[in-house]
């Protein structure tokens, strides 16, 4: 199969790679770029654990080929925290116990990212609809909904100017 050269920006870095046309985007991210934070949970585009953003929109990366992202811009879970500071979504999932095994979490957060960026005060139904393409088998979703709601408040709050510092140390004083 003729291989194809693609250029793609991932988490702010430019990459050039030679790929087979049939290579799925999720395998490109995981196996070529080594970004294993994006997970694979099914083979029917049902579970959403492979969700990334492509030019700012949430996309299931198992349902695209790597060649389709030539010239485009991708963000994965690894691109969210900056300078050791967690993104408000990551911080909120920690604060609200929005994860247990953590396997669906990167996809869940990346599905929520464009949603919270464009919704200042989403209600619970809107949040649930926004993540209805992402499956979680551990949490029962309630704490995920709370996490996303909390992140929206933070990101649209008066004092927010980008990712915040987070004390992720467990504290008995919580």
């Amino acid at each position: 199969m003729a291989e194809v050269t693609i250029r793609v920006e991932v988490n702010g870095r430019d990459h050039e790679a030679v790929v087979e046309p049939r290579l799925l985007l999720v395998h490109f991210l995981r196996d070529v770029l080594g970004l294993t934070g994006t997970h694979i949970g099914c083979d029917t585009t049902s579970c959403g654990t492979c969700t990334i953003t492509l030019d700012g929109r949430a996309v299931k990366s198992c349902t695209m080929f790597a060649v389709q992202v030539d010239g485009r811009s991708i963000r994965t879970i690894e691109g969210l925290a900056t300078d050791g500071r967690l993104h408000p979504l990551q911080e909120a999932f920690h604060e609200e116990h929005g994860l247990q095994c953590g396997f669906c979490t990167p996809g869940m957060i990346m599905a929520a990212l464009p949603f919270v960026e464009s919704n200042a005060e989403p209600n619970d139904d809107e949040i649930r609809t926004a993540i209805s393409g992402n499956l979680c088998r551990c949490t029962g979703y309630a704490n995920i909904v709370r996490s996303i709601s909390r992140a929206a408040s933070t990101m649209h709050g008066p004092s927010y100017a980008g990712p915040t510092a987070s004390a992720l140390e467990p504290s008995a004083r919580d």
């Binding site: 049902s46 654990t49 967690l86 979490t105 139904d125 088998r137």
Partner: protein, 790 residues
């Protein structure tokens, strides 16, 4: 500063939130080869020739293996998870048991769709997949049996020809004089109850990476496993090398729920072939493979009879039930006997006769999943109570109240043995208060009003409740190794791994509390057979109880060592030393003392002064062996609305009142309960694996098999009650499975109550619209309310 019982945030979150989790498919090893598995497409067939030459010649292919090519390496071996039950139990129930074997690859025949027949090893997963499609298998199909009752009849197709029948296990459990109970009953009610087959569906599938260790002749294996130590033991037998040379690691695991507590053929093949080829080999399950080749759940048929007085008092119970084990009864009596042990549940039942037939069929093996026989037991028991209430024209909840054990009856001997052979003595809890609190929390007056006032035409209202007990914290044993480092860090090493249970937080809380150190200084090492060679697995709601108390025991022992060492150095009596926030000091003179790390350095061998009374270093290894299980309990209640036009069911409110003893971390406990309830709601509302008569799974994908989404969830309330267990020093009971156990029973009770208001009857799940409409049609009740609306 106390940390036990406090909802501290999780220690393990950060790596998982930034994409630094290391699940088995993230384990990177240079030069790894990839495995693709060729699986049976038939449910029952003799295997003729397996033609591999074309596949072997394809690009990137390094090896193609079949049962024949592996020869004696292929087995059969005794099945690594088939353990006969405790002798004490066998001496009481005298079960008939058929030992199971495991083959790496199917040899003479296949017994279910999805069974591994051959593997292709290639340099790239895509090339391995390509070549797997080129392997040709000659099958001679055999008659298929998918119905367990038919499988138990003479003349059925046989899974194992040498057995002569398909009965994998059979036993009877007796309590009291059940014949007499039925003779003096005012009313006898019979009901058939079926809890269908489902699958736990962790979002991470299975996976294995095996790296040969040339220096030792051993192998390192990463597996998405709840049971790395059992896998190590299985590999010891299969590979024929000492277990200490086999290092099995469960890294971050993306959910388990029982499906990862088996030892699978794939977990044995990959290390076997890695050693044979002397290459690193990896295999990652696809979801499609997971649906047919990872174990399924539930699938029991119960024929129940209950003897009652006119006032609803239970006099006796008979149950004859089939467990459809699928093609191999891989866990012996785990689910079959758990069901028997939990059938009486929270109820007072003077006489019982429970007969279990565990039967093989041509379906994927069926084994433990969150609850492991308990959701089945509760579904059966609560189902016969619903039928009894209907027959006696009593309120369904009131019948339960009359038969629920009271707090003043505790401890209560259920009169049958638990699975460990120890008498099933319920060790405390206020079961009736749980029921009353759950019903009160529903706030039925407000929920019911719109229906009473006619404001919801065409909608039926129903209430249901179901209780459960759960034997938690099963032994036999767990241990913990705790070491205080000169840095002041405390390393706690335990056996069982986490699949989301928050071990790194809750175990650290126990150590911090018992030892007197800061939570952030405690590190938990888990799920690595080299780090700790013993572990019984993260299963059966056991790790908080058994590992937790092992950590407490080792922490207390280490605390004594610290006090003695500090007393020696500070030249005071041990009773005059205190430990707080990672520092030892003299009571009354807090400035006289030192950090624990400094103390560790002072007594470290080779560095400091060896205190012969306490030995080298501040280390302690200890364990905990529970006398038997400790019984958690609870009640779930819900109110539902049924739309008679569409058949859809909406859960208006769902309430959990549960008691798992002392809470280590209320936030984590609530998370476990919420997740369990959600899995239970999946069984209640959506999930059923459907096989056709040829043994083909008809809905083996996440497009066809619906698990709950965020938009499917009702409002759920969780109320904790804390009755400390007196069977372990920490007073805790397990909670991992509890959330899932009574959900199908509570939901069907509510939906059934709603349908009964128009004369319709429904006693099985999932309560899909089609099933609800069928029930309404059968009662000819469907058109009436709709016309009445018009």
């Amino acid at each position: 500063m106390p940390v036990f019982g406090v909802p501290v945030k999780r220690v393990e979150d950060r790596r998982l939130l930034v994409g630094d989790g290391e699940y088995v498919d993230d384990v990177r090893q240079a030069g790894a080869l990839h495995v693709a598995v060729v699986r049976s497409v038939y449910a029952h067939a003799r295997i003729g020739e397996v033609r591999t030459a074309a596949a072997a010649a394809m690009p990137g292919v390094v090896a193609v293996e079949t049962a024949r090519s592996l020869g004696p390496l292929n087995g059969p071996f005794p099945h690594p998870t088939w353990f006969p039950p405790a002798k004490a139990l066998q001496d009481i129930i005298h079960p008939k048991l058929r030992p199971e074997v495991i083959r790496l690859l199917a040899d003479d025949k296949v017994r279910y769709v999805g069974e591994p027949v051959a593997i292709v090893v290639a340099t790239d997963p895509y090339l391995a997949d390509d070549a797997a499609r080129a392997v040709e298998v000659d099958y001679e199909t055999l008659p298929v049996v998918v119905d367990p009752e038919r499988a138990a009849e003479p003349g059925s197709p046989l899974l194992n020809d040498d057995w002569g029948d398909n009965l994998a296990a059979h036993f009877v459990v007796d309590k009291g004089d059940v014949e007499a109970a039925f003779e003096r009953a005012d009313r006898i009610v019979r009901q058939r109850i079926h809890l269908p087959r489902s699958t736990p569906t962790p979002i991470e599938n299975r996976g294995v990476v095996a790296v040969p260790d040339r220096r030792s002749g051993g192998v390192t294996v990463w597996s998405a496993s709840q049971q790395p130590h059992w896998l190590r033991d299985g590999l010891e037998r299969v590979l024929g090398i000492p277990g200490d040379l086999i290092r099995v690691v469960a890294p971050d695991v993306g959910g388990g729920f029982g499906i990862k507590s088996m030892v699978y053929p794939e977990e044995l093949i990959v290390p076997t072939v890695a050693l044979r080829l002397d290459r690193t080999i990896r295999w990652t399950d696809t979801r499609s493979e997971n649906f047919v080749a990872a174990t399924h759940a539930r699938d029991q048929i119960h024929d129940l009879e209950i003897a009652l007085r006119a006032d609803g008092t239970i006099l006796g119970l008979r149950d004859r039930y089939f467990v459809d084990a699928g093609a191999s009864n891989v866990e012996c009596l785990v689910c079959p006997y758990n069901t028997a042990a939990h059938l009486p549940g929270a109820y007072r039942i003077p006489a019982m006769r429970l007969e279990c037939l565990t039967v093989l069929t041509n379906k994927t093996p069926n084994a433990a999943a969150r609850g492991a026989g308990r959701p089945e037991a509760v579904f059966a028991m609560e189902g016969i109570l619903d039928a009894a209430a209907d027959a006696l024209e009593l309120d369904r909840v009131e019948l339960r109240r009359r038969n629920t054990l009271r707090a003043d009856e505790m401890p209560y001997d259920q009169g049958i043995p638990y699975r460990d052979g120890v008498p099933e003595i319920l060790d405390g809890g206020d079961y009736t208060a749980c029921l009353d609190d759950a019903i009160a929390a529903l706030d039925l007056g407000a929920l019911r009003r719109p229906y009473e006032e006619g404001a919801r035409p065409g909608r039926l209202f129903g209430v249901g409740a179901a209780s459960y007990i759960e034997g938690t914290g099963v032994g036999p044993y767990e241990s913990a190794l705790i070491r205080i480092q000169p840095s002041g860090r405390v390393i706690v090493t335990v056996g069982p791994p986490s699949q989301g249970q928050s071990h790194e937080t809750t175990f650290a809380q126990i150590c911090a509390e018992e030892l007197g150190v800061r939570l952030e200084d405690v590190r938990i090492v888990q799920g690595d057979t080299l780090a700790l060679p013993w572990g019984g697995g993260t299963i059966a709601s056991r790790t908080a109880v058994v590992v937790g108390n092992a950590i407490a025991a080792a922490s207390r022992g280490l605390r004594e060592k610290v006090l003695r060492a500090a007393a020696d150095l500070l030249e005071v009596a041990p009773g005059d030393v205190r430990i707080e926030d990672g520092r030892v000091s003299v009571v009354g003179s807090p400035s006289v003392g030192m950090p624990l790390g400094q103390l560790a350095a002072r007594v470290a061998p080779g560095i400091g002064r060896l205190n012969e009374a306490i030995g080298p270093g501040l280390d302690e290894y200890d364990g905990f062996q529970p006398p038997t299980v400790t019984y958690a309990n609870g009640v779930h209640a819900c109110a539902v609305e049924v739309d008679v036009e569409t058949g859809s069911v909406e859960i208006l409110k769902y309430v959990v009142v549960h008691d798992c003893g002392r809470l280590i971390n209320p936030m984590v406990v609530e998370g476990q309960i919420m997740g369990g309830v959600t899995q239970g709601l999946g069984m209640a509302l959506f999930e059923e694996l459907v096989y056709d008569d040829d043994g083909q799974l008809l809905n083996g994908s996440l497009m066809d098999y619906g698990i709950p989404r965020a938009t499917d969830m009702p409002p759920i309330e969780v109320h904790h009650r804390e009755t400390p267990s007196d069977r372990n020093p920490l007073g805790i009971k397990g909670v991992g499975e509890a959330g899932a156990i009574p959900v199908p029973a509570a939901v069907i009770s509510a939906v059934g109550a709603a349908l009964r208001t128009v004369g319709a009857e429904l006693r099985t799940v999932p309560v899909t619209p089609a099933r609800v409409l069928d029930a309404l049609d059968a009662a000819s009740a469907r058109t009436q309310p709709v016309e009445a609306r018009a």
